[in-house]
């Protein structure tokens, strides 16, 4: 059995009505993006000196990359914990990761005020401020995007190798063997980089100091971000697997997902446990019961984590596709809220400052996600990413 049997491109035309609608939305938001670049951030966003970071950082970048951790989480499970049976799920997960991270990179260009200068980060190591957690994130994410596309590149090569003679075939014939040879260090890098930058994304807000609410500001932020991104990664893999098998009429992976659900559930429950114990030990438990918007968001967030986690470990839920879908949604929701809370709800720059994303800000976020969906559809319909329609026996 070779990789070719396990993954197949989805048959059917790319230009479905759904695709056209998404493309239209993206087209409209491209106009808004152009406006943002010409007229400045003030014209399009609700950002202010009090809230210099908003939806685009908290959701598109910080949450977006965490949702892109499926590849990381699956690779950890398959290659480190040696659970070979999940192997067929690695490639789709890697694609969602590559797209998720690339999308986040697009969002960063929209968000920073001087995107023209972003190129200076990779080319000016002599300027690097090694104390900056944001630099660590930037360099890691840039590298990781390259690593992810290299990891997924065999899917492209497999197609081109069988295609007509020409540039792509030559490309595939030259590089496929090289990639195969360096796959182990590449994948090790693919595990190291998210470990580093996902924890650093938590560390970023440590610098907010007293401006960040006590329920979120903890020395454990890096660890909590790491743990929750793994949980979110599994949830996204389950979500994507169920959705794509339904949309593209592929065999359901309910059984495999059921055991994956167990792993996810425990990760999420351990996360919730650490989070609560930490709050108690830091003497901040009283904050939970204060009538503030922060405590409300905290309770919703924790409830979603705990309920989602419990559903995932309970056989009654995790063995059915519906239960898997609902619990995955809950974990995705909880992890998203946790990030938005840390960056926005928990952030208090003082009186007189308010932030709620503006309409163009939200539409551009929608457009960025739309772009990701379009790319996903094109790629799975062109290249062997998803599991074949004829289910092969999973390895080991």
């Amino acid at each position: 059995m070779s990789a070719h049997d396990r993954h197949e491109a989805v048959a059917g035309p790319i230009w479905t009505p759904f695709f056209k609608v998404v493309a239209l939305i993206v087209g409209i938001t491209v106009v808004l993006m152009a406006r943002r670049f010409t007229l400045g951030l003030g014209s399009s966003t609700a950002l202010s000196d009090g809230y210099p970071w908003g939806l685009w950082i908290a959701f598109d970048v910080v949450t977006g990359t965490a949702l892109g951790c499926g590849g990381y989480a699956m690779a950890l499970l398959v290659y480190i914990f040696n659970r070979g049976k999940y192997h067929p799920m690695v490639r789709p997960a890697l694609l969602t990761s590559a797209l998720g991270y690339t999308t986040a990179a697009v969002a960063i260009h929209l968000d920073v005020g001087r995107p023209l200068y972003l190129y200076k980060i990779p080319v000016s190591p002599m300027w690097w401020n090694l104390n900056s957690a944001l630099l660590e994130v930037a360099v890691c994410v840039m590298t990781y995007i390259v690593v992810l596309w290299l990891e997924i590149s065999p899917a492209f090569f497999e197609k081109w190798e069988r295609g007509p003679d020409g540039f792509f075939k030559k490309l595939a014939n030259t590089f496929h063997p090289i990639i195969d040879k360096i796959m182990v260090p590449l994948m090790a890098l693919g595990l190291l980089l998210p470990t580093m930058h996902q924890s650093s994304l938590g560390a970023l807000m440590l610098l907010g100091g007293k401006k960040v609410h006590g329920l979120w500001h903890t020395p454990l932020l890096p660890g909590l971000y790491l743990l929750s991104c793994v949980g979110m990664g599994y949830a996204v893999v389950a979500f994507e697997s169920i959705l794509s098998s339904r949309t593209y009429k592929r065999p359901r992976e309910t059984r495999m997902l059921a055991s994956l659900a167990g792993v996810t559930g425990w990760v999420v429950l351990i996360f919730s446990g650490i989070r609560l114990v930490d709050i108690v030990l830091r003497g901040k438990a009283a904050l939970i019961f204060q009538p503030t918007i922060q405590s409300l968001f905290f309770l919703v967030e924790m409830a979603a984590f705990v309920v989602g986690g419990l559903m995932l470990v309970m056989p009654a839920f995790r063995n059915t596709a519906a239960g898997q879908f609902q619990s995955a949604m809950l974990v995705i929701f909880a992890g998203t809220l946790y990030r938005i809370d840390t960056y926005l709800v928990a952030y208090n720059p003082g009186p007189n400052w308010h932030y709620f994303p503006s309409v163009p800000e939200m539409l551009i976020t929608v457009g960025v996600i739309g772009l990701e969906i379009l790319a996903y559809v094109v790629i799975v319909k062109t290249f062997p990413i998803l599991r074949g329609a004829t289910p092969a026996q999973a390895a080991s």
């Binding site: 059995m1 040696n82 005020g113 182990v184 994948m187 807000m205 007293k210 080991s396």
Partner: protein, 296 residues
């Protein structure tokens, strides 16, 4: 199969623990930053300020800042807070009988959060301790705004190629042998410029000479790790009343830096982790190949 999973996980756990231990062993207490020997600074004495705002006008002129007339419907320059057109502002605190003015500007922290945050050193602390902004290195990420505990760095949101605006202690004037514009024009010498050490002595002397006139503390000696702009307040009016946060004496970046440096010290832990990942994967793969299974 079967690769001895238990053995592998055990090996991984040991390796992971070793990595973590390397990190912890490296987590030295971060040495406290001290004020540079040539440090300059400013001292603002609220008991002397009459709220004339001459310094606000002078600051605008000296720094080529446009007027901010939003609050007056375009009539005249009247900023209501620090913003992208205003590096210096006089605010008023009033609570019944108690009244005070307050000069807000960059504090030129001894261990500046903004400098720690900035990716390529666009914000940098100079030899004399002044924190300046260098546009050619700024990506406009605005992390400095998140990091600064005093809400100082401001941002030209209305521009397509924005700058970060903050008081740079009139470095361009100091370079020419002049003193900061605000200090030069103040008719009451409520804000003065000088060597940091001299200013500290001056402030302490004022407190000692007129204890009933002042709130009994010099703000900035150690707040948030210390600042090179020092403040004195009127008796009965705390610095929090004046809008300066109570940061304690720990430098604001200390917690984050201790953690990050603990993890990344000498890059030992990441390299170790990379080696562990690589080794485990290679072992798994070889075991699978031996067992006659496909390579991944």
């Amino acid at each position: 199969m079967p690769v001895d999973r238990r053995k592998l996980i055990k090996g991984l756990a040991v390796a992971g623990a070793a990595t973590a231990a390397a990190g912890v062993a490296n987590a030295k207490i971060r040495p406290r930053k001290t004020v540079p020997t040539d440090a300059v600074g400013m001292l603002y004495d609220a008991t002397r300020c009459i709220g004339c705002k001459t310094c606000v006008v002078a600051c605008k002129q000296a720094n080529d800042m446009p007027p901010d007339s939003a609050s007056t419907g375009g009539l005249y320059d009247a900023p209501i807070d620090l913003n992208s057109k205003t590096k210096n502002i006089i605010k008023q605190y009033q609570d019944g009988e108690k009244q005070s003015y307050m000069k807000a500007q960059c504090m030129h922290c001894v261990d500046p959060s903004c400098v720690n945050a900035c990716m390529m050193g666009s914000l940098a602390k100079r030899e004399n301790g002044i924190v300046t902004w260098h546009g050619e290195r700024c990506t406009g990420c605005r992390y400095c705004g998140i990091a600064c505990p005093y809400g100082v760095p401001k941002y030209e949101f209305e521009k397509s190629f924005p700058r970060v605006i903050k008081c740079e202690m009139c470095s361009h004037r100091i370079a020419k042998g002049q003193i900061p514009a605000c200090c030069e024009v103040c008719p009451r010498q409520a804000v003065i410029y000088g060597k940091y050490s001299g200013l500290v002595a001056d402030a302490k002397k004022r407190l000692a000479d007129f204890p009933d006139r002042y709130f009994p503390k010099v703000f900035g000696l150690e707040d948030g790790g210390g600042t090179q702009v020092l403040y004195l307040s009127k008796a009965g009016i705390s610095f929090e009343n004046l809008g300066l946060p109570d940061l304690g004496s720990d430098p604001v970046p200390e917690l984050q830096q201790t953690i990050q440096h603990g993890i990344y010290q000498g890059f030992v832990a990441p390299v170790a982790l990379f080696a562990v990942f690589g080794a485990v994967m290679w072992r798994n793969r070889r075991a699978q190949e031996k067992a006659g299974e496909v390579k991944p």
